[in-house]
Symmetry: C2
Subunit: 407 residues, 2 copies
């Protein structure tokens, strides 16, 4: 008699985009014909640049010719792409062998699946607010108890609020796995090298492993901020890093990401090389490689021309961020993020909850954003705005907010 | 103190291709310059036909233009593709709503991940020999005990040998989940409607769920054989079906597959619609959709022209199968499969084990195949040959076998 995995029943609500789409659709039904401005989901909008399109086209062309056609690739990724990523890291002074870099179909599946190689009784710490995937995948795996008062029992929440500049304090109890996202989704905060060092030192001391989500590193403008956790001494012994082509290169739909599992990484019961081998085994067993066409595109992204062209698009989104940030600043909001991340994190005015502000912004200015409470209990009273969008739409949204939002 | 998932340590050996590559490389080192003929892995070799290339190119072109660029798609797949698959099923008399069809990056990840929505204490049955992914993903999840005498404790093995024409008997004990693959990898056997009906009836009676891997359905030549489990009455209440563009359309590297979870499907503690919702939740949480370019290619595959062109390539591989089958027949081997599946399954001569025959075939004829024992204890004494390959290579391999293999 087939029974379901009951951990799914612990999951609070459906994934954030589903919930937001529901309310947005309800608004559209109530106000047919109204223009809605979307500053909600962090979804890229600008077309891929020429060099990347050429790379993808070459990838397709290869499949049309018997001499260049390829079927299954390595589950761990095209070695040329692994080498190219290794070279990208080396420009930043980080030496990684290509075998420490695993190509995947994106940072979301990787941050979702990485927990499966660790013990089911691992104590897991997450930032609060947090990208829901880290939390929900551990719920599904059975590492938490029930959902109560906005939290899953057994999960260690590290509050990130304006009081600590959205930089979490170290866990008060010993944890085994710790997810860190910097530049942060949703708060837009970026850990400095000094701040990150504290976490690395904590992990080394407690033999904990950090899962470091660097999907937004390309958005860092301040040269002093670290793009990779491996800029911190000792991090190779205690940190897995996840990277992505999604936001930096417009690959949200194309689907390529990567995960670094250094050979030096150790755990309580895993010697050097063993965690790397474990992730390789997971990928070989449960995954069949990212699309070969998409990987050709990713290779083009990493070319000199590709990097220049993609950086321009990143700069464009960051100009959007500046426009949104300035507008809310001028309206007297408390505004965070948006300097080194494509997310602007605002304090909701007065005593409005996140969802109350969502409804107010939608009703009055016809703008859709993301309620902070969706990201965890300490997201309550905050609101996320995404800098991804066409300039004209961002400007229209901002104008609508400036003209129609009742402060 | 981060600890690993110890279930990984139960896994017997690394994934089959890794093991075979190792021995093949060792042979190459010993015999430099020798031509090796590969009839091992089921990897497509023929270029994609024109209509599919056009579809993929259109997918790339869309991303170059701001008016047609798309970022994140639905995690459950492009609805046009879901509708097109629904239409494909309807031509076979099977009515499925598009919401019952989930697009993914392939049948391997789907057959690997589907177990995660079911209870950890589910009793799992597999055919023996079997595609290792079904087994190993359940080992990693913790549904089995240790590996002993070729089997994982707690797993129910359903022997498939020449004595039962590779059609398993029903489980003797009640099982909760049962993986069936037809056309079968590795044996090439295809379940008739009558045989399949027995499994459906068993599942309905015991409220078990069948995970039906139909990745090779396009290779069926005999019109009386079922292409889908939903051709059997009652199957929608007890079966999940996994499909793939990999082998039928040359998408092994492009990566698109799908999984059907009917709304009518029920479990011990899941009413109609609930298992469908569970899989949707899993995909939304842990996956971010198949590559948009690849999905455009899949749409082209399902066009009338695409189907005609892809069917020609399938026919080409099946002619390869006939060539291999005939050669081994003529050499006096006991030969199975290859009629409605791209795999030929032979009994090793004399008392040779699967690996002994692997070494013999490699040493004498320079041909790489796949030892049957890799697929489970009842694969011992058998050997798999794959019909995927260029005609000239297949012919050379067969000639080498005919001339050099010492019988």
């Amino acid at each position: 008699m087939a029974k379901i995995n009951k951990n799914f029943q612990k999951l609070k609500s459906s994934y954030l985009s589903v919930q937001i789409n529901k309310r947005t659709k309800a608004f559209q039904v109530k106000h047919p014909g109204s223009q809605i401005y979307k500053l909600g989901i962090g979804n890229t909008t600008e077309p891929l640049p020429g060099s990347v399109i050429s790379g993808l086209q070459a990838g397709v062309d290869k499949l049309s010719d018997v001499k260049t056609y390829t079927g299954y690739g390595e589950e761990t990724g095209d070695n040329r792409l692994r080498e190219a990523l290794s070279e990208k890291y080396s420009k930043n002074g980080i030496i990684l062998d290509f075998q420490e870099i695993f190509i995947s179909d994106g940072a979301k599946p990787d941050t979702a699946n990485i927990q499966s190689i660790f013990s089911i009784d691992s104590v897991v710490a997450v930032q609060d607010p947090v990208y829901p995937v880290y939390v929900e995948t551990n719920v599904i795996a059975g590492r938490t108890g029930e959902y109560e008062n906005g939290k899953y029992k057994g999960l260690v929440y590290l509050p990130c609020t304006k009081e600590n500049n959205f930089v979490p304090y170290l866990p008060e109890i010993k944890v085994d796995l710790m997810y860190l996202c910097s530049p942060n989704n949703p708060t837009g905060a970026v850990l400095t090298k000094e701040q990150l060092k504290k976490f690395v030192d904590y992990a080394l001391k407690n033999k904990a492993i950090i899962i470091y989500d660097a999907a937004y590193e390309a958005f860092i403008r301040n040269n002093d901020l670290p793009h990779s956790i491996y800029e911190i001494e000792g991090a190779k012994e205690c940190a897995i890093e996840v990277g992505s082509f999604s936001k930096s290169s417009g690959f949200t739909g194309v689907r390529v990401g990567w995960t670094v599992v250094p050979m030096d990484l150790v755990g309580e019961d895993a010697k050097k090389g063993e965690v790397n081998a474990l992730w390789a085994r997971r990928q070989v067993t449960m995954f069949n490689g990212a699309s070969n066409i998409a990987q050709e595109g990713a290779l083009a992204v990493l070319s000199d021309k590709g990097q220049k062209e993609c950086n321009k698009i990143v700069a464009y989104y960051m100009e959007n961020a500046q426009i949104i940030k300035t507008a809310f600043d001028n309206l007297g909001f408390e505004v965070f993020g948006g300097e080194n991340a494509p997310y602007i994190w605002i304090k909701t005015p007065g005593k409005l909850t996140s969802w109350e502000f969502f409804d107010k912004l939608l009703d009055e200015a016809h703008v859709v954003g993301t309620p902070g409470s969706i990201f965890g209990p300490h997201g309550e009273g905050y609101f996320r705005l995404s800098a991804f969008g066409h300039r004209e739409d961002i400007e229209k949204a901002v104008k609508s907010i400036e003209e129609k939002l009742k402060i």
